[in-house]
């Protein structure tokens, strides 16, 4: 089993690498294009994958991945399951702030249990959970900006801030039972 490790490669100068994992490959491509279009002071390299583990043959050429993003479409059970299995192929070091989840279609008629399951997953791994409006350009741009904001920290581009530090600020506490009642 080949684990993806956060510190196995030297970082690039003025560079940051983000890996987008999405089983359905719907949102991935357009998000990737939007991300590289944003004006950053560094080279942002976006890599795409359907699931983990990543193939061995690319191992050499693959740069150090600073942020792994799992995109989950809430309307599909498979999307969630795939992300869940992929998580096993990440080195635990990644969970110190270098993983985040992006959820799409949360504002629709989806079973509430699935939303809760995703929130529980993110909370138990101490990862931020972002909701994305994938149908509008504005929504995609927003998601790109937010991912870049996280990437900037995880790639070490912000002085005095580390990914672990950021993750202590952004992780959910486990949703409690009262949360299921939704209102006070």
């Amino acid at each position: 089993m080949s684990l993806l490790k956060p510190f196995s490669k030297t970082p690039e100068i003025n560079g940051a690498n983000i890996l987008l994992v999405e089983n359905e490959e719907q949102f991935q491509q357009c998000l990737a294009e939007t991300i590289v279009l944003q004006n950053m002071n560094v080279n942002v390299n976006v890599r795409l994958a359907r699931s983990l583990p990543l193939p061995m043959e690319n191992e050499k050429s693959r740069p150090r991945i600073d942020l792994v993003v799992f995109i989950i479409n809430l309307t599909s059970e498979a999307s969630f399951k795939s992300a869940e299995t992929s998580l096993k192929y990440l080195d635990p070091g990644y969970f110190l702030g270098k993983v985040c989840f992006v959820v799409t279609k949360a504002r629709s008629a989806v079973p509430p249990e699935r939303l809760i399951a995703v929130r529980k997953l993110a909370a138990s791994l101490h990862c931020p959970l972002l909701y994305a409006e994938d149908q509008t350009t504005e929504g995609v741009t927003t998601t790109a900006h937010r991912l870049l904001a996280i990437l900037r920290v995880t790639a070490g581009l912000i002085p005095m801030a580390t990914s672990l530090y950021l993750s202590t600020l952004t992780c959910y506490t486990l949703p409690s039972d009262t949360d299921q009642l939704n209102f006070d």
Binding site: A109, T136, A149
Partner: protein, 737 residues
Amino acid sequence: MAEASNSFSSELGSSNETDESVSNRSSNRSLRLAEKSQRKSEASDPLLLALKYFSEVKAGTPRIGNDVMERNMALVERVGLSRGLPPEGISVMLDYAMSLRMGAVPCVRVLKFLIPATVVPQEAIVRGMAWLCVGKLAVSTQVFFLKWVLTIFDMIDSKEQLRAIYGFIFSFVTEEQLCPFICHLLYLLTRKESVRPFRVRKLLEVQTKLGRQPFLMHLLSLYKVFCPGFVAVSLPSGIRGGFRSHNSQWKTVLSAVQKKNNGQVTSDICLTLGAKCKPNSRKRKCNHLQLPSLSSSVQRSSSTSRKVFPLEQLHSFSQLLENLHRIELPSQMGSLLGSSLALCYLDYVQDDSAFLRLNFWLGHALHEEFIFCNGEEGSGSSSESLNFLNRLLSTQHFLQEGFFSTEGFLFKFLNVWDGAFLRPQILGLLSDISVVPSSCIRQLLFEPLMQLYFTSTLYFKCSVIECLNNMLLKWLTWHSVYALKDGLDISLNSHTPMNMSLSGLMDSIMELVHFVGRLATVGLQLEGCHSLLLSFTLDFYETVCDMFLKFDLPLVAMPPLGVFLPALFATDPVSVDRLCFIMYRYKKNLMAAKCQQQETKQGFHISSQTYREFNRYQLIIVSCLWNSKMFQPGMAVEVDQNILALSKVPEPSHSFNLIHHPAFLGYALDFHHKCWPERESIDLNSIKAGKQWDWYLEFIFTQGFQGLQQFFQSFISRHSVAGTTAQGPGDTQPTSG
């Protein structure tokens, strides 16, 4: 007494009218209309022919193998699903279906395509209810019919006759499967007159059988609002679940049809309406998010006898003033949002039931549209949402109060928000929420906001801080208003902060202030102390520092070091100036609090921690800007002397005084140039000597830095500052190291 008999006699008037129409008017009228328009169009409209078929077809006509019926049915179905059916079409088809003239199979099919193009005549619904009473329909079909009625409820042209058969509708609450829908329908129809002890008894009886179901609680709470004496049981103050939504079946088609019809108001559908097409029914686009148009539950004819003034006839503010005492609220509370006059009225009457109904309508609409939306998210619908939320915002501003259904919606929505969708509106609504108890503020508000804040751009961070500042301002304003009223509760919907004890309010405010302190500290760090974020943060603390003097809240909370230091060492003079102003206000507040404490002996207690923090900050500012004792031992900010030596900065302790501080260096150079235009080499230290210092201060203060001026005038009070009176240089001059 007089009032009671008044309302009774009026009911008399209206039911007289009801009497005739329920019995025979409806089908006749619609047929007459159909005939009339048929003659007009010279029997050419196939839809009318088809409708004629269904209105005349005899009971027991075979269904299977009946091609004529099938053809006509397909035609009406097509029209219904594409353009919607005209009012008489609805009447005819509903009657045909509910009478089961051709059995139960066509019934469900007809209900499925019964999409109104404009309005639904109330007679049709009354007849439908009558068929329900016959009891031949299968339970599932009965439920289906009720769902349909609930979906098109806003489009029923008048509800008076439906209210007349309130008792008949009510009798269905005992049917377990129908109960949720019946309760919902009753909720929409209930008026004060409808609330009777025997109905309350019945509902309670049903409740013991079915348990405390939300639909029963809703109806009971409405009854309780109307007649508190009748409903003795205690109900939770906010049952926020709402009635389950069950209209998705028709919703999409309905909104599509309505959108289409909007474009072509003068289409043939409208023409067949003939005389019945009132001008206001044309405006009735009634998309799910469009506000229902104003239509009072009283019909015009009866309104004269009743001496009430329907809101829909109100056209000017002066009319409102004249008729203030006899205005009838509309049957659809959502329509209130659409009319500023109606809102004025709502604001004055402070009618609990009106607020309850409005809240219910609103909660339902918000949930449907923004959390449970089905698929397509076109640009059209999002501009609709935009308008809707803007309208809601301005309504809340006008009423100076948030609706509790908005709050419920927001707390839910924050959990699935991307931080950009309708941002100004969402944050605007969020800043209107009433005080959240400190026990749940973290979970409801802080957690979702934290996730969004720390993963978003600078601009979002700024708008969150701004939003929380506005929220704090609202809470404080409420407090100061209600504190003045001395506990007198003039609240409209009993969700105002004064339901909270003072200590509860202070806890919540303290939580909020600390939360913003954390957001600002880390935000400034992540964004490299961006001036914009700093500016919004200082806005917030301008509110916080004056909580006691401006809002009468006995609370003083200092900013954290993570906000204080970036502001003090900012490269722009405005931030430094504003920080000084804030410190000056803190001092005023603390002194006033101390005074009160000594005078009344029962003033609030400020912790010594707060005083310590304040003194420390004061010391830092004075030693850094004024005394040039920065970095010296015991002077608050300490840095290893070796490092200072390595930096090779001459006289590091001077480097942040009013002359050398990066924010003021430019002014110092300017001043130097004006004082000694002939000098070639610049020696800034010469500003510190003698009169020059006074002049320099005056120079700086005249640049608009009022905060600095107030700060130094109040803190270094023994000396005159800025040369108001010329004293010996030894006095005014700062002690230079």
